[in-house]
């Protein structure tokens, strides 16, 4: 089924730059039926009820991509393709999207999938009485209607040209779960998820493993090869990689901080390294209401003191790709001039001297080896230009509350790989947003963000976003470190892993030779 002409006349929705190394098997190679795959995840999964967990993290997303489905999915070229929705039509102002749903789909518990079921999911997340943390991410959607069994209508607050691409991966909002299941199981539903996907939950031992079995009634069962998916949390990077080498795991999540192992795997013919560079970046925010960061000279000096290439070399053997703007190479926003401040130690020293007063502050880091390593590198960079940074190690769980309460001077953050930069840019920088961490208000910036949100033409939006980048870089209210590069390492026998859009490792359509 094709998307309607008007949408396809517009520029490709999503340009991605993939750095794949022998990733995708061509359709010609034989897909072997049967067998099981063991996936090593970084974290344990707590649950799947959006009301309880709020957000699906990377580990939960891997399981969710096998058990749940969404209206659409993105193919290799980044184009939106039908999944649970067969076709979609926008209104003229792109504020209303009408989806036609696929008939004959059932949830694992037999409940039929239809527009009512989808609407029930949405309403439950949006209902203020449920106080779902997930509601934040659908704040741009006014409501969802189900005029008939197979028709779904989305009413958005602002125009969204890319909307179908935004519901293409099974996050906590887009993944459809069975209304019967959550209504009957209550609190227990969180660990007994029911979806429409190719795999169903068979057993789950906390902290140990989750076993998913093939769904015999899946509507697309010819494309499903493996009988079983076993998911295991293996938080320790070395142990995780060792499991892969010893064969206990067939595929493991990894990242560039584990560069030694990634590079080792690249040289090993028995292993395949899958990688994808998405949009967004790992970043940090300055609290501009607190001295000494309330002075733009100090902020600029701190940013100019960073030699990202050396940093990447020191911590990731050079694998990490420096970022100069919030969009990255993986985004369709391409700027000729993003206003990035250059690496200039002398200028930085001069700015600090100009400021006159001693520059001392604390920065939050996660209490993990990589948090510590990054902290020490930044400490060193800033020491060289005369600034004293004290590392404040906190648990990962403490960073969001501290950030939202603005109890920080500098905090790390992340801009996630999404199909459209609007959600995060608006949330991170618009005056009044709870996530505008920098406490920085600029009417010109606000205007640009609003304009980019409501405009339809891609070129105009790109222009707006590049102007936003220039403004942010000049004022140095946030700074960008490295682009989002996602990694998964697998045995060479694992084939059929799709591109890791948004960092999701989707093994539901893989097979083992």
């Amino acid at each position: 089924m094709k998307a309607p002409t008007r949408a396809s006349k517009l520029a490709p929705i999503f340009l991605v730059t993939a750095f794949a190394t022998g990733m995708l098997a061509t359709p010609a190679s034989a897909q072997k039926q049967g067998g099981s795959i063991t996936v090593g995840l970084e974290l344990d999964i707590t649950g799947f009820d959006p009301l309880k967990v709020g957000v699906f993290d990377t580990a939960a997303l891997t399981a969710a991509s096998a058990m749940f489905e969404t209206l659409t999915y993105l193919d290799d070229k980044g184009e939106t393709k039908p999944k649970l929705a067969l076709s979609w039509v926008p209104s003229d102002d792109f504020k209303t999207w009408t989806f036609k749903l696929r008939p004959g789909v059932k949830f694992h518990d037999g409940t039929p999938f239809n527009a009512e079921a989808y609407k029930a999911n949405f309403d439950r997340q949006k209902d203020p009485a449920n106080k779902c943390r997930c509601a934040f991410y659908i704040s741009g959607v006014k409501d969802v209607q189900a005029p008939d069994e197979l028709t779904l209508v989305y009413h958005l607050a602002d125009p969204a040209v890319n909307f179908p691409a935004l519901v293409s991966y099974s996050n906590q909002n887009a993944a459809v779960q069975s209304p019967t299941a959550w209504k009957t199981k209550g609190d227990d539903y969180n660990r007994n998820p029911v979806g429409t996907g190719p795999y169903m939950l068979k057993s789950w031992t906390a902290g140990d493993r989750m076993i998913l079995e093939r769904n015999p009634d899946y509507w697309d069962k010819d494309k499903i090869y493996l009988d079983r998916i076993i998911l295991k949390p293996l938080p320790d990077a070395q142990s995780r990689f060792a499991s892969l080498q010893s064969g206990e795991a067939d595929l493991v999540w990894d990242d560039e901080w584990d560069a030694d192992n990634v590079q080792k795997a690249q040289k090993d013919s028995k292993l395949t390294v899958h990688t994808y560079t998405g949009s967004g970046a790992s970043v940090a925010a300055f609290n501009t209401k607190v001295a000494p960061l309330d002075d733009v000279r100090v902020r600029q000096a701190l940013v100019m003191a960073l030699d990202r290439k050396k940093w990447s070399q020191a911590t990731t053997n050079g694998l990490a790709k420096p970022a100069t703007n919030p969009y990255g190479d993986g985004s369709w926003v391409k700027c000729k001039d993003d206003g990035a401040l250059p690496y200039d130690v002398e200028k930085a020293k001069a700015l600090i001297k100009d400021y006159g007063k001693p520059v001392e502050f604390k920065m939050l880091f996660t209490a993990t080896p990589r948090g510590r390593a990054n902290g020490q590198v930044l400490q060193q960079f800033w020491k060289q230009v005369g600034a004293n940074m004290e590392i404040e190690q906190v648990d990962q769980a403490t960073i969001p509350p501290r950030a939202f309460m603005r109890q920080f001077q500098v905090t790390p953050w992340r801009i996630v790989d999404l199909a459209d930069p609007d959600t995060q840019m608006y949330a991170n920088f618009h005056t009044g947003s709870p996530v505008a961490l920098a406490n920085y208000s600029d009417p010109e910036l606000d205007k640009l963000l609003e304009d980019a949100r409501t405009t339809v033409e891609i070129d105009k939006r790109i222009e707006d976003y590049c102007a936003v980048s220039r403004l942010i870089n000049k004022e140095a209210i946030w700074f960008w470190n490295f682009q989002n590069t996602y990694y998964a390492i697998s045995s060479a026998k694992v084939k059929g892993l799709p591109k890791m859009y948004s960092g999701v490792i989707d093994v539901s359509r893989t097979w083992k030779e």
Binding site: D260, A367, Q376, Q380, K383, Q393
Partner: protein, 290 residues
Amino acid sequence: MATLELTLGEDVQAQPAQRGRRLGPLFWAAIGWVVFVFAAAVFADMLPLPSPTDMDMLARRAPFSAEHWLGTDGLGRDELSRLVYGARVSLVVGLCAPVIGFVLGGGLGLLAGYFRGQFETLVVGSMDVLLAFPPLIFALAVTAFLGQSIMNLTCILGVLSIPAFMRVARAATLTLARREFVIAAQALGATHARILIRELLPNVALPLLAYFLLVVAVIILVEGSLAFLGLGVPPPIPSWGSMIGEGRESLDVAPRLAFIPAIAMFLTVLSFNLVGDTLRAITDPRQGAL
């Protein structure tokens, strides 16, 4: 050292008869090593070493060279320098934390063993409460609450060592309180304070001091374990435990990064254990040595 438990010797039993051989070459080698490490830590600033925090980011994990005698670590910092400064942390925490235990635990044990009765039950009960806590969780929780620093670390470990000292002091006091010289002093009408300070304290202090050294060894190991988990002193201050933890990431590429601090820690802990064990055997009151 499975779970950071700080009660060492349930083997505070009578030791077999000692032979002079005990103060042999091993003992003196251990003393020598401790003195050497101590001196290196104290005089670290005066030694011709590069800074332990300066990173030569493009020369990480460099092999031994004239510029870096023991090479560089994962972030390009001089390994030898970090080793020496790391000794500082291990020794500071290792020597100061047990002092807390010695003073508080030893004091409580002395009083409990002497006065007995309900006071003793209260003291022993409190120690049992403290001991019932998983020590690592205690350390984690307090660190989460108070933040990481050498001071906090020393205090946590000091508090965790109190029960062990209490037990030793109490056991020693129980033995000594029935000896003739104490009974004689009581018969002569000496006050409790006088008996405690003049008769008991000197005799209890000796086995406690010997035990002190054993606790130092344990604390160094515990600090190492905490640092390994990332709970030790805050970066960039080097610590042997955190060096091992960091070196672990490069175990297959450059195992020396983990092994060098591991050997240093092992030798130091071993030395303290040797000296402490020997001294304890000599000063155990049940031997009637004094």
